[in-house]
Subunit: 107 residues, 2 copies
DNA sequence: TTATTGTATGAGTAAACAATCATGTAGTTG
DNA sequence: CAACTACATGATTGTTTACTCATACAATAA
């Protein structure tokens, strides 16, 4: 697999609202599935699939402890990337606001 | 639309090998579609769709000049994010290499 | 005007995705 | 052992994606 495809996989593993929510939850350290799925408001099975997906892409790691499986972020770069994406969103919001002001509102 | 969904849109706009190729092409400044699609080895229509997609997500901007339309990156953060994704890929490659060494190869 | 060039887009298709429900599995407790 | 808990996964479904081919549109040139 090419480096470009691997890069795309990393990005794809982050490019989904539910998964972004999970990533943000994991900012403060590891959490088990039974903590995560109520926190994000999705079914256990759905949450588990998202976690598996991010695990296989390499951005998460897991640690088993008895019945529970704790997931955590493997690379701090993931959080940096989310931060940059949020910056872009802010810039875009500012730009859109400027455009509306220039063109005038339609209400 | 929530900030989280907007973030996911930004990431999704980058999370595809062809689009990553385009983004890397645009590192050195603006290019028109007729330059981009031969460079990335895709059809003009397909290339145009990817460009439209990235334009609508806000990570690209366009400038018309006669018949040609020049696309360029709107936010430097996009390149920073690609750089971070590449770092993760390198870390993952190193980790996988270590695992193979530990477990021994199967050849 | 017509022809040409550069780009966008409708229609169609195969594949991937996200979600759900039901079920399976592994570890724990009684 | 059986019952329970935490998690993963098969089967299914509706939606989205990436791509192609053909065509439309817009600006320029003849």
């Amino acid at each position: 697999m090419e480096a470009l495809d691997l890069c795309a996989d990393i990005l794809k593993a982050m490019a989904q609202p539910t998964r972004l929510r999970i990533i943000k939850l994991l900012r403060d350290g590891e959490h088990c599935v039974c903590e995560i799925f109520p926190a994000i408001g999705h079914e256990q099975s759905n949450t588990s699939r998202h976690l598996q997906m991010m695990l296989k892409s390499g951005i998460l790691k897991q640690r088993k402890d008895g019945l529970k499986i704790y997931y955590s972020l493997r690379h701090t770069e993931v959080l940096e990337m989310v931060g940059l994406a949020e910056q872009i969103v802010v810039h875009e919001a500012e730009r859109t606001a400027r455009l509306v002001k220039q063109k005038g509102s339609k209400s």
